[in-house]
């Protein structure tokens, strides 16, 4: 049988490592949404003394690239410190898997983002984020790269759905090039709120759709 994936991708897809959920994890990250077709959750248990990832598990609602990348990422991150794990790149994960079809890049990036989100969650909860970065347009833009445009399977920044970002004394206003009655308007809005409201200096987020 022939498949569009490497042997290693297929192996991790068929027998994913570290699958499941950690109850009361030290850190947790959730990326993607059912609307865009891929979703991954990463759970961490971290040694508070050494900051080494002692246990890591994932759950995936996704395609082969997504499952295989999440699986290999958990193997790569286990036993590493948070700092080391943070630096695991999508490129390294892909190389470790023996390559992935280019068209499937976004499905696998999500797994890497899931790991980073879980690490960030741990750091925020444990007061490890030393410098509080001021929310700028750049920061918002970076976070919005994690909000998918379900119509394209790519994020809302790359697909130019975001037309304007305004930040004024803790209030963030994001203009989206979609009518408010569009079938994905509420899903996108919800996702944006989740990503931006958690910023420390943001008090209010307004998502404005074009009429």
């Amino acid at each position: 049988m022939k498949f569009p994936y490497s042997e290693k991708v297929l192996d991790h897809f068929k027998n994913p490592r570290n699958v499941g959920k950690i109850e009361n994890p030290d850190g947790k990250g959730l990326e993607g949404s059912p609307a865009c077709g891929d979703m991954v959750a990463v759970y961490l248990n971290v040694n508070p003394e050494t900051l080494v990832i002692e246990d890591i598990k994932f759950e995936s609602y996704g395609c082969a690239s997504n499952i295989a990348t999440a699986s290999i990422i958990t193997e790569m991150a286990k036993g590493k410190t948070l700092e080391e794990a943070k630096n695991i790149s999508w490129k390294q994960a892909t190389e470790e898997l023996g390559g992935l079809p280019t068209v499937k890049a976004h499905c696998s990036v999500l797994a890497v983002e899931g790991l980073r989100a879980a690490i960030r969650d741990y750091e925020e909860k444990h007061g490890l984020v030393s410098e509080k970065e001021t929310t700028t347009e750049e920061v918002v833009r970076r976070r919005l790269k994690h909000v998918m445009n379900p119509m394209a399977g790519l994020d809302i920044i790359r697909t130019e759905l975001v037309t304007k970002i305004e930040i004024n004394e803790g209030s963030v206003r994001i203009l989206i090039d979609l009518p408010s009655d569009h079938q994905f308007a509420s899903a996108i809005k919800e996702d944006i709120l989740e990503k931006i409201e958690s910023l420390w200096d943001v008090e209010e987020v307004k998502v404005v759709f074009t009429e």
Partner: protein, 388 residues
């Protein structure tokens, strides 16, 4: 089961029937002349006769006249020929075209291409089962409308349109009707004497005939400009040397489809739907239950992603298709599932099973057993499943 794929993707293509190949062979090795040589030598006459006999057989299956069938290279060409040919011929009458939102790509993308050239196109909605609202169709037709193109059976969810009502409305309003019958031809009969449809796209590859051959039924006196220039073949409507072995094979394939076979295919399909619906939770049958082509089942398995499901099935020797975006190179989810009001999650978890004469009860049971296991396994690792 391990060394042989159980194939449930017969709307994509079917296995060629050996009897079809046997019928075609002489036209590759013995009678290989082209039909246009009929006045030059006897092999040309034989070739011409074979071509016309094939045309007759296909015309009979629609209760049409042989002069109303043009052979093409397949359904994509047929639909292009119908839509571009009619809109071009009736340019002076108007520039409005109506198609449904869930048409297959040959119709949808031809309509979009015409729209770019300045044509007015209405892509009309269907209900949650994929059926067109005929009142809405009637309201959308204007004095400018020159053609309505509504498929017979949908390529993904198998929903059958009410061609009788649709053609009645078009006839009443004086507008031509084209129907893409690629996924219903011979499975759900159309009698052009009873249903006043003007153009019908038909194909060979969906009924165990050869690929690269199809046809277009063109009701007598339908205005149509040729859109491919060259020789004078096919009533001067379609230039290019005739694919005689293809036409002969197509006709043989049409002859081989029987009512009994359609009943058997439907019984297998119903067995699959019945077992999945009763043995797996959180599933939906997409499309209409009663107005449905007999060989199609399209089912969403919630909380799992279609590409993962199809890949696992492939590893176990089953071939199916999915509406998941991850399955397609364009990363776009099925426009049909979205068109019937489904969300992306529903499209992502949908599987299309299409049956043919070669499917068996044994492999139908085997695929259901495999799906049960794989769906349970994928739901186990899905972050969505337990939350709901």
């Amino acid at each position: 089961m391990e060394d042989k794929t159980a194939y449930f993707d017969n709307s994509a293509s079917t296995r060629l029937d050996e009897r079809v190949l046997d019928a075609m062979k002489p036209y590759y090795f013995d009678t290989y002349a082209v039909a246009t040589s009929e006045f030059a030598y006897s092999m040309g006459i034989d070739a011409k006769e074979a071509l016309e006999k094939a045309r007759s057989t296909i015309a009979d299956s629609l209760n049409a006249s042989p002069g109303e069938i043009v052979f093409t290279s397949g359904s994509t060409e047929s639909s292009n020929m119908a839509i571009k040919g009619v809109t071009s011929a009736l340019k002076k009458k108007g520039n409005h075209l109506i198609v449904s939102k869930i048409e297959d790509f040959p119709v949808l993308n031809t309509a979009k291409a015409l729209e770019k050239q300045g044509f007015e196109v209405d892509f009309i909605e269907v209900d949650d089962r994929g059926r067109l609202n005929t009142d809405q169709l009637a309201e959308t037709i204007t004095d400018e409308t020159v053609l309505v193109s509504i498929q017979h059976a949908n390529q993904e969810i198998g929903t059958l349109q009410d061609l009788e009502s649709i053609s009645g409305i078009c006839r009443e309003k004086g507008v031509l009707l084209h129907t893409d019958a690629t996924h219903s031809f011979t499975r759900v009969p159309i009698d052009v004497q009873k249903i006043p449809v003007d153009l019908i796209t038909i194909a060979s590859h969906t009924i165990h005939g050869p690929r690269g051959v199809g046809g277009l039924y063109i009701r007598k006196d339908t205005p149509l400009n040729k859109w491919m220039d060259g020789g004078f073949q096919e009533f001067n409507l379609r230039a290019g040397l005739e694919n005689i072995p293809g036409a002969v094979g197509f006709a043989k394939a049409v002859e081989l489809v029987t009512e009994e076979e359609n009943r058997q295919i439907k019984a297998l399909r119903d067995h699959l739907i019945e077992r999945i619906s009763s043995e797996i939770t959180n599933v939906i049958l997409n499309g209409s239950k009663e107005h449905r082509s007999p060989h199609n089942a399209n089912i969403t398995f919630h909380y799992v992603e279609g590409e993962s499901l199809t890949l696992h099935l492939d590893m176990r020797g089953f071939a199916v298709s999915t509406g998941s975006a991850c399955f397609s190179r364009s990363l776009e989810a099925s426009h049909v599932i979205l068109g019937i009001g489904g969300d992306h999650e529903r499209a992502h978890g949908s599987l299309r099973f299409t049956f043919s004469r070669y499917n068996t009860l044994e492999e139908t049971d085997a695929i259901v057993d495999a799906i049960k296991e794989i769906v349970a396994q994928l739901r186990e690792i899905s972050p969505l499943y337990e939350k709901k």
